[in-house]
């Protein structure tokens, strides 16, 4: 593209709502345009990146015998009613009635559609396994869209769905997709980490699920990694242990704690460490029309991981209990505890980090009262334990029990998931097995945020001047800056541009009538892998062109006849280096 005739412009202003580098840079470098909250158009320069990302994804999926299809963006409500998700998706799902009064939604995901296609197409184990994928528009009506295309409402996603006769076959397919995914980010030259994810209520027991995260300083996701054994998990799913002292003796007694409500206040007043007190957290757990109160017990200085609690309960929604709930339960806020609690009213769950044989301070169920010396194994019947706590950096690894967890920031760009028979059962899909018996096939699903990947790549690759594109997904290979107002000289530059393009290079030629400083700034902001400079004054001295590496700043000078070969091999070398460092 010659900039004098093309469509590309940079913007000086950083948008007011942009909090993270990728959002600022994508707007400033003219890659995206905000149409409304959470709605971004991809301008020509940005769309080239998306297409490169999509092509890599497509090629790797095709290699693994996945077949691309395109489901509709709007899907009929009846399919979602069939699976039972029409009412479960809450506000994220954009629902519409068409002019004939039929329910539709702008698809947030497409399990229902693919299962519908599958059941009309396949009826025998002989046709299994099969993996279908699409790269298509999705919509999730985020309450607070932000971070540009990182958390937009409309976005494109690659979603793949595999169908299998049995768990062994699903495991093989899952493993295959694990490699497809690893290849994808390796080819893109992005550092990534694979972490255990929270399966949520979607997975069956024992289902595998992992996230692929692009490592980045401002990543939204916290990942815990054990340097000893390599265990890595999203903080939502991470398990870790603490090394704590316990007080294992003590009589149970009710004590006065005037005006002391928080763990910090109570522990300070009673002169015990916070982890010798238990925190009581009350939630309402909702499934369908049923509601139940949950009392989650945690060490005083631990925090509840809501996602773990929700997964453990398998409920539709969780909400924190309100003052109105406490009033209705007739328990003063700040003084609830498990002892002498009317058990029928609550489902009490102890975090497994609590030592059941140790003595703890707990709420006294009356205003300004707490119990000391509460020993769960002695003072509570029917103890139920689960992993409920948020892990922290320096927790002991729950897998090898040796290393201490370290926090890494990442951006979730991929998620692979064993779904089991959730959808094939609810949507009544069967195939015949070898014995002619009908069985529900089991499924895996595999997602990649394609537009999100572009933003993640920038989060990982930028400096104060702008973006630093990995070669594989850069919008163009080369930024050709020409500095001259001489017509003759510009003609020569145009010939060079033609030669480079003829050699298969993707070139942006800056032939605009603006100053060199402006051109260099724009080139750095856009961040193509290499910059080629041809200045009339310098060239007249030694007939040299200058090539500069955007990432390293390395500069080489050379004659016109060497340009094509040198640029090509430099790009190849960069591409190879970028691939090498990809897996963390």
């Amino acid at each position: 593209m010659k900039l004098s005739k093309g469509f590309w412009q940079t913007f000086k202003e950083t948008p007011a709502d942009a909090e993270i580098p990728s959002h600022k840079l994508m707007i400033r470098a003219g890659l995206i345009y905000k149409e409304a909250a959470g709605l971004y158009a991809y301008l020509p320069m940005g769309l080239r990146v998306i297409h490169k990302i999509e092509n890599i994804i497509r090629e790797e999926h095709n290699k693994a015998d996945c077949y691309e299809l395109a489901m509709t963006v709007l899907t009929p409500g009846e399919l979602w009613h069939e699976s039972g998700r029409w009412d479960k998706m809450e506000g994220q799902m954009l629902k519409i009635k068409d002019r004939a009064g039929r329910e539709l939604c702008v698809s947030p995901t497409n399990e229902e559609s693919v299962v519908d296609i599958f059941r009309k197409s396949i009826n025998s184990y002989k046709q299994l396994p099969v993996c279908l994928y699409q790269i298509n528009t999705k919509f999730r009506d985020e309450i607070r869209p932000r971070y540009g295309v990182m958390r937009s409402r409309e976005f494109t996603m690659k979603d793949a769905y595999s169908f299998h006769l049995d768990k062994k076959c699903l495991d093989d397919g899952y493993e295959k997709m694990f490699h497809v995914y690893s290849n994808i980010w390796t080819r893109m030259g992005l550092k990534f980490i694979v972490v255990d994810a929270d399966g949520g209520a979607m997975a069956f027991s024992g289902a595998k699920t992992q996230e692929f995260q692009v490592v980045a300083e401002f990543g939204e996701d916290k990942v815990m990694k054990c340097p000893e054994c390599g265990y890595a998990a999203n903080i939502e799913a991470a398990e870790g242990h603490r090394n704590l002292d316990f007080n294992t003796s003590g009589d149970l007694k009710l004590v006065d704690t005037p005006d002391k409500k928080t763990i910090e206040e109570v522990a300070g007043f009673l002169k015990v460490p916070e982890h010798h007190a238990l925190k009581s957290v009350v939630y309402s757990s909702i499934t369908g029309t049923e509601e139940e109160f949950i009392l989650a017990m945690l060490l005083g200085d631990d925090e509840l991981n809501e996602i773990k609690l929700k997964s453990y309960l398998g409920c539709d929604h969780l909400r924190v209990a309100t003052d109105a709930d406490f009033k209705r339960l007739d328990i003063p806020v700040g003084f609830i505890g498990p002892y002498n609690l009317q058990k029928g009213k609550f489902n009490v769950i102890y975090d497994r980090e609590i030592n059941m044989d140790a003595a703890y301070v707990i709420g006294g169920l009356s205003k300004d009262k707490h119990y000391m010396g509460f020993i769960p194994s002695r003072d509570d019947k029917n103890i139920q334990t689960a992993d409920l706590r948020l892990v922290y950096e320096d927790d002991r690894c729950a897998v090898c029990k040796k290393g201490t967890l370290k926090e890494i920031r990442g951006i979730e760009v991929g998620h692979i998931f064993q779904l089991g028979d959730k959808y094939t059962k609810s949507m009544n899909v069967t195939v015949l097995d070898k014995n002619g018996k009908t069985v529900n096939p089991i499924m895996g699903c595999y997602g990649i945020g394609t537009t999100r990947t572009a933003a993640a790549a920038i989060e990982q690759n930028n400096d104060k001047d702008g973006i630093i594109w990995p070669v594989a997904i850069a919008p163009y290979d080369l930024h050709f800056v020409v500095i001259s107002k001489n017509e003759e000289f510009m003609k020569m530059a145009g010939e060079v541009y033609g030669e480079l393009r003829k050699a298969g290079l993707e070139v942006v030629m800056d032939d605009r009538n603006v100053g060199p400083g402006f051109k260099f700034k724009d080139a750095d902001l856009l961040g193509l892998p290499l910059r080629l400079t041809l200045g009339e004054r310098d060239y007249s001295k030694d007939q040299n062109f200058e090539i500069r590496d955007r990432r390293t700043g390395e500069v080489k000078k050379m004659k016109r006849e060497k340009l094509v070969q040198e640029i090509k091999s430099w790009l190849e070398q960069k591409r190879a280096e970028e691939k090498k460092v990809s897996k963390v």
Copy 2:
């Protein structure tokens, strides 16, 4: 793709709602899947066709310095309010409120979005002209979606928008797009015709607009073409004349026409030819909140072309007058006419085919009464004329006045259009011209129905056995049918499959465990350009493979070592032939 492992199946049943060949064949050949009324998924085999169509479109646009971007599928209501189209689009526009109560729609077209992007990006004539395009999902909530993907509700479209400083520049850009479009269907190997289209209320006076139609027997559109001068126009826009005798004398008199209402009845009763009577058609024309009654006068045996009337009036909507309207106007149904009509109540327009100096029979404004001898130039003041009639085959060409029009059936796959300043004015977009003055740039828009093109290609290329794909957009090049149950032999076939693919050929290999008849039927139904057959029995006799041309039925036998070269040159030859016949 090896069919034993891939995802493709044909269907025996023709869907009940399928009326035209392409709809039936796309379902039966496993190209598309109906998710709901007007919502079709593209199965892997069908999506390959769409991708080939998209790539041709993309390449031709890029060659012409058009830049691809991707606007959002959901667009904010505020943009549509700004242009004034939010309320004008009627039921076709699917409108939604998001969870924050903001208006959105599933875009039926994207003029507003592209103008919004343009005005934030470009402010000087120096950056003009520019042409931006996208290939993206659209939604129009058709009341009666039908013909499969030909008139579906969700569809993909290439929509391009050009911006220019003046009419001369717009004309040049329009001309350039004309050639881009011609190249596209020529490359696809589809016979097409370019016809004058109705510009509707969107165009400015003198705006050019043309449709590209793929010629097909069951085409929805009627095209009128003059074999003498080459004039071709959509029937909505076509102009033609009749050669008629006129009765130019007569006194005006009111006559009884008991129980005679239709032209046929009245003319028969009064013993005059139907074209010596005038037909009076009453419409209500609505613009914004204003409504006006229109009396359109036509020769007795002509039909009104509603689109011409609407374009002429430039109104928002037209509706046929109802019995209630007639009651309100106090005129008996069947007896309205222009003579003595309370003019304030009606806007009377005479079709220009009426001879203003000839005598006609018209309605008498009273039950069972008609006037004879009505001569418009004598008996009506303020005569207004316009071209209002539908043309018919054998009408005289309005351009060369020599030829007679012939009807051709086509499918509209492309439309190019000079928009003028409609959107830049309503959305207040300006650029600075050479003198530093702000002006509204003018626009062109250019659409191609990408999914529709696939259906149109099939309408044009099919026989009783199935589809006959042009090489350029066939899902694969070659259908490789292997007939054997011998493992050794199948291994050899697999090697050949590998060799063909290595040579860059796109091959479907039918290695399924089904009979040869089944395989041949499936191959004919899918309709890849060439079929390669390897039968164990035949091969053992003479070591020959058989290649068969799907279109001509021509068969060649040859040895393995010649396959790649022969298939490649055969495909090239077919491709060249298909390009040759493209323009009608």
